[in-house]
Amino acid sequence: MVEVTSEGLAEDAIRHPVKEMIVSEDVMIQLHGVHKWYGEFHVLKNIDLTINKGERIVICGPSGSGKSTLIRCINRLEEHQQGQIIVEGIELTGDLKHVEQIRREVGMVFQHFNLFPHLTVLDNLTLAPIWVRKTPKAEAEETAMNLLKRVKIPEQAHKYPGQLSGGQQQRVAIARALCMNPKIMLFDEPTSALDPEMIKEVLDVMVELAEDGMTMLCVTHEMGFAKTVANRVIFMDVGEIIEQNDPFEFFDNPRHDRTKLFLSQILHH
């Protein structure tokens, strides 16, 4: 297995118009030698990764490769047993204060949306700003309505999540994560539970987000999205990072046999 670090890749990732955004040298996330076990099962093996501000990373791989586990370790939804994870200079340990600080800066969007069904869309969005950042209610509602306009569903503000379609719910989930003004957005297979017609509307929102300069870490099977937006594509298998490269190199010249096998299977249709 070849250890590929990111420094050499960031500069030559700028070939696509969207990626002409400046990727700064500020390091947002660092993973050093991260290992994780579920009981006896070794799910993450020696992960080394550095993510700079403004980078858009797509992680792909077969199921069970640890991609979701990896991004869930970044906001401590899963705990790693060995190694270091440093987010914006704060190390992730058992210290709850650090975890809560990090979670305020890192937004997450889930495969199954995880909206709160007992609250309206507007209440879903304003819950965290009001209770975590102590924003006054009027201000929180204004931010929420602006974000709903940005994801193009302002008229749904007073409906309940159960009354919306899947694509609308996922867009609400993205708006909810953005309400906390995070510096990093994590996406855990955001379009995997959606009908094909709705995938486009969610991907459009994500592309816009990328154009605005958000640091994004996205686990997805949407390779079109990777080609449009990503600075770097990471391929994981059985808990290891097998290959990372900018999208054009990754899709045109995969270096490892496992990568080649995976690409041949998913790019058929």
Binding site: L77, R103, H118, L127, W131, V132, M180
Partner: protein
């Protein structure tokens, strides 16, 4: 039938009404009662059974019954029900042996409750939160003093009780943010200490009455030492030495507030159980209490802008409260007791006036439906929050917390309520130190409350298990702390889901209160039995039990209907 044979071009078929024989009453009867020969036979059988049962009951209960009169003789024959029996005993069945002249106090209490509850049924009314606060805090205090009254001779009793209750509430409010600290594993041991110290606070006076540390200030000092020094030492044992100083410094603010809060919860429990509070005041008591005041005021957590209302309480109210309670317990130093400042002399006329209007009615005199309502109301209102906390504790990652909660639930669920009441009334006083007596009703209330909380904990835990893990994760990813996640996201959904289970437990509790007969308290059923065994009124037990059953049924059915209404109201967001 000819309408269906007409043909229409595709897309133009009108919406026709259904055939008359399949809708309405006729349709229902045809479908459900006479659809097949078997159905016809069952319908006839059911009609016959109704004919056998209902007319005799109606005859006995209404048509042949005796309604008027005052004595046994008015029910001369034995054909119908003797409702005269109920009429004559009605006051006792409703109020027990409460003095007749004081019953207006109970009725006033009922009226206040009804008036406070009615606005809750008006949709879209603002300020329901304040009605809730009143019902949970203000009304119990008002009801307590209305129903029990004030005793002559202890002019200071009711301020103490008021102080006692408010101390407990303020103490709990001040403690709430501290619970955030408890999530850290190293602070688990602090929690054990926090649980144990109020118990020590209760026991302290009898073991230390002859020592140096006397009275409430002494108690406060003991608790302060236990709450500051002991947790600090235990934190040192639990964490690496290099982190210890940081952990103590971080938590110092919260721990110092916990000191003040728990010192007064402990003191308050003393106050509530002792009618006469006579504490000699050692010379150093005032300076030491002042020092504690300063400590609580300087607590860095209270100054943290993030702390909100509870932080505000810690900063101002708690220290002021410390001072006021000290003054009432111990009295201001004599140098301040002069002229119009002589607080004891000036407040005495007020106390005496109140005493004469609302004299003391001891709890053994409470009975009948009134007692049933008091016991079940306290049990119901207290068992839900305690049950929620136990359920959360049982699902916690922290092994000590989980072990305590499991032990509590399994212990209280595993014994019959009769045993609990028996233990509370007979065994409990044997373990208490000299001079500390709890009212028998209070003991029964505590027993019922904890018993019901254990059942409620399991019902709530069922609801918590049913919430998908994604909800917890979504809330955590937004940065919500444990208690905010539980209070804003998980519990609203979980409790809504288990409303049937919760109301079921409430209804069961309401009926279980009849067991207090075992410890000599005469609730609704107890009074009916007492009336039925009265020598003048033997032989009318049936009427008594029918009336009791009817009374219970009214309350239980109302609770059931209300819960269905609540479920309909709250079923938002699940319908598309």
């Amino acid at each position: 039938m000819s309408e269906t044979t007409q043909s229409y071009t595709p897309g133009t078929h009108p919406d026709l009404p259904p055939p008359t024989s399949t809708v309405g009453v006729v349709g229902w009867v045809r479908k459900n009662l006479i659809a097949s020969p078997l159905d016809v036979m069952l319908t006839l059988l059911a009609l016959y059974l109704l004919y056998l049962i209902i007319p005799p009951i109606v005859d006995w209960a209404f048509l042949d019954a005796y309604w008027t009169g005052d004595t046994r003789e008015a029910c001369a024959g034995r054909e119908g029900a003797c409702w005269v029996f109920i009429k004559v005993w009605f006051r006792q069945l409703m109020y027990g042996i409460y003095p007749a002249g004081e019953i207006w106090r109970i009725n006033t209490g009922y009226v206040i409750l009804v008036l406070a509850v009615i606005p809750l049924f008006i949709p879209n009314l603002k300020g329901k939160r304040w009605i809730g606060v009143f019902l949970l805090i203000g009304y119990p205090l008002i009801a307590l003093y209305l129903f029990s009254g004030f005793s002559r001779g202890t002019a200071n009793a009711w301020p103490f009780r008021l102080m006692g209750f408010s101390a407990i509430i303020l103490g709990i409010l001040a403690l709430l943010p501290l619970l955030g600290v408890l999530r850290e594993r190293s602070a688990v041991i602090s929690m054990v200490v926090l649980v144990v110290t109020p118990i020590l606070g209760l026991a302290a006076p009898s073991t230390w009455t002859s020592g140096m540390l006397r009275g409430a200030p002494g108690l406060a000092i003991v608790l302060a030492v236990l709450l500051l020094v002991l947790p600090a030492l235990l934190l040192a044992a639990a964490t690496r030495l290099s982190q210890w100083r940081a952990a103590v410094a971080d938590n110092f603010g919260q721990l110092s507030v916990a000191t003040a809060a728990l010192a007064f919860i402990g003191g308050a429990l003393l106050i509530l159980s002792w009618d006469e509070v006579v504490f000699p005041s050692p010379p150093w008591a005032l300076p030491v209490t002042m020092a504690m005041l300063v400590l609580a005021t300087m607590s860095p957590w209270g100054h943290d802008r993030q702390a909100g209302l509870a932080g505000w309480l810690a900063r101002f109210l708690l220290p002021v409260y410390l001072l006021v309670v000290y003054l009432i317990l111990v009295g201001p130093p004599d140098v301040l007791n002069f002229g119009f400042l002589d607080w004891r002399a000036n407040t005495r006329p007020l106390f005496t006036a109140v005493e004469s209007q609302i004299p003391l009615v001891e709890t053994p005199l409470w009975g009948g439906l009134f007692l049933t309502l008091v016991i079940s109301a306290v049990g119901i209102v207290m068992s839900l929050p305690i049950g929620v906390v136990l359920a959360l504790g049982r699902r916690s990652d922290m092994p000590v917390v989980r072990a305590i909660c499991v032990a509590f639930i399994e212990l209280w669920r595993g014994v019959p309520l009769i045993t609990v009441l028996f233990m509370a009334s007979v065994m409990f006083p044997l373990f208490m130190p000299e001079g500390l007596t709890f009212d028998k009703l209070v003991r029964a209330l505590i027993g019922v409350m904890l018993f019901s909380a254990a059942y409620m904990a399991e019902v709530v835990r069922g609801g918590l298990q049913a919430i998908p893990k994604g909800q917890y994760e979504g809330a955590e990813a937004l940065g919500l702390s444990y208690w905010k996640m539980m209070g804003l996201v998980v519990l609203p959904q979980a409790l809504k889901m288990v409303i049937p289970g919760i109301v079921n437990t409430f209804i069961g509790l309401f009926k279980d209160t009849t067991l207090v007969l075992i410890i000599g308290l005469f609730d609704f059923l107890g009074m009916v039995q007492l009336a039925g065994t009265n020598p003048d009124w033997l032989g009318f037990a049936v009427e008594g039990y029918v009336f009791t059953a009817f009374g219970f049924w009214i309350f239980c059915f109302s609770m059931s209907r209300y819960s269905q209404r609540l479920e309909k109201q709250l079923a938002t967001g699940y319908k598309r």
